[in-house]
Symmetry: C2
Subunit: 329 residues, 2 copies
DNA sequence: CTGTTAGCGCATTCAG
DNA sequence: CTGAATGCGCTAACAG
């Protein structure tokens, strides 16, 4: 691999001058600069980001830790992060924690060991996440989708409680008598807040609340359990898209039609309009969430030291068919 | 951040000894080693992977360039890669090229500049991919899902032509008279091979072949065009999962029922059984593909210099409902 | 078995 | 404006 020294020799200048041409941090005589650029092109020189990171003590890479790579919500968000990072000259290492705190911990250590410039994370648990280690090492962190209690960091998320309450009220207005809720783990702020919103909107009615794992299997099991109740629900609000897949499957396997039980799901799904009845959803501005988190992160990387900011973005209730009780189906 | 020097001072040894304890490359007196380990724990020392990479001239990171992060096929495969890499002590940088050759090029440059240990890629185009630059720099490359002509590298893929022919024959056996095919770009080996398999199985029949972009929009447009033909197809084989979403949407928007037109899709989909009629698919062993590619890559990293290997994995035709002409629906 | 020395490739002093 | 010297943190070669 050609080094800065090779380029310097070829151009008949010192390595320092080559460095200056590349980084443009100080003026270089135009004719020298041109010679250097020629040599760079001629030798096909590419600066080592490794050496650069070591020398300047900062890398041009962010770590993005997402909870589940099979969830379109996170991958769409990742695109928002990636595009914004690219604009700023940063690269993104996408880390899939699989809703597993141990994996998350390993990735935090990777970010630490690679001395990355920053981290965007959807923490597996509200408490007892180890983002503190990153902050101590001077690596800025932004939380996305979920909050983290143990550290004071910027957050980008929905007003999950309000969104859940809104969806629940919608079900009640449709005339459903016994709406249930399958939420995510109570140890995530998202899970807790969506459950709280459900309970809030329920008024005095009997709560039919299950906490699951934000995965397909969890949604399946919870739905199955609900349907087996002596007095089963007539509608379910599911707290994320993957659990909704499980819910649909469980309803089908129970020999029930999805027409019989009202359904509304958090998160948009690419195929929400392709199932029968078309799925009502609480859509999040996924790409924008990623963008917003990236911008907050950039500010911290640039040295901002304000108190942490909590950015609340708007969700959108998209009523299709699955939550319409009286619609012609 | 604490350095190896800090640990050495604290333990009263030289940095070299600390390094030896960490890497276990040569024997260290047990009592010294214990002291070093204590100091490491006490100071919460974490070796800089940056410095390590620079010194040893090899990083412990792979680049994984996928064509589309919104496609479950690639993300499932990514999990296979990631798990295998982790077992070997490597980390994976997931790069989303969005079916865009320019983005792919940028990521190749990143892998080059970070002097990564290896690369697994689903090339945007069969020819004119720039993986050659990686090979020249001594970075091993394995292609996945699609082949690349310009360079001699290991490949893991299906026998796409046979799989497509098999699926087409299945449609014909069901009694469909005019099966169409929506394939991927002819510039990808996958797109070309699947189209070839379709044509092969068609015998003398009139071909109804469209090349699209492996994305939802492309599938939509192609399907719409097919349905508007004076003699439209009565069945469609779609060459990937995302285009199938577009196809379903187009069929619906044309006021046709998915029951009227036979459908079979490459790639498994999490919700294949949730639409009506349930989608028949040509399932690929996605996770295994990722694993296999990782193992090939590891061999190259370890210095293997055989001629490139082409590993062909088995696909599985999963007949559900959408391709059954005479089934009771 | 251990410490000393050197240098990976680069950016940043400091002189000139 | 330019070059020489220095060192980021670590590991490998060499002595001892």
């Amino acid at each position: 691999m050609t080094t800065i020294r090779d380029v310097a020799d070829h151009a008949g200048v010192s390595p320092a001058t080559v460095s200056r041409v590349i980084n443009g941090r100080s003026e270089v005589d135009p004719s020298l600069a041109a010679r250097v650029r020629d040599s760079i092109a001629h030798l096909d020189y590419r600066p080592s980001r490794v050496a650069r990171s070591l020398r300047s003590q900062r890398s041009m890479v962010w770590g993005l830790i997402i909870s589940d790579i099979r969830n379109p919500f996170f991958t769409d968000m990742a695109r928002g992060v990636e595009d914004t990072a690219a604009d700023e000259g940063y690269s993104v290492v996408l880390c899939n924690a699989d809703e597993d705190a141990a994996k998350e911990q390993r990735y935090i250590e990777l970010i630490l060991d690679e001395r990355m410039a920053g981290c965007i994370i959807t923490p597996a648990h509200t408490s007892d996440s180890n983002v503190g280690a990153l902050l101590e090492a001077g690596i800025p962190v932004v939380a996305v989708d979920r909050e983290v209690q143990s550290a004071a960091i910027d957050v980008v998320r929905l007003d999950n409680q309000e969104a859940a309450a809104h969806a629940t009220r919608h079900l009640l207005e449709q005339g459903y008598q016994r709406p249930a809720c399958i939420s995510g783990p109570a140890s995530t702020s998202t899970g807790a807040d969506r459950a709280a919103g459900y309970l809030e909107a329920l008024g005095g009615r009997e709560p039919l609340l299950r906490y699951a794992d934000f995965k397909v299997a969890g949604g399946y099991d919870a739905t199955q359990a609900l349907l087996r109740l002596a007095a089963p629900p007539d509608a379910i609000m599911v707290a994320n898209n993957l659990m909704t897949i499980g819910a649909l499957r469980a309803i089908d396997n129970a020999g029930r039609s999805a027409h019989e039980v009202g359904l509304i799901s958090f998160d948009e799904l690419p195929w929400a309009d392709l199932v029968e009845p078309a799925l009502s959803t609480i859509g999040q501005p996924t790409y924008k969430i990623g963008e917003a988190a990236s911008k907050l992160l950039m500010k911290r990387i640039r040295g901002r030291t304000d108190p942490p900011e909590i950015l609340t973005l708007e969700s959108k209730l998209r009523v299709r068919q699955s939550s319409l009780r009286d619609a012609i189906r």
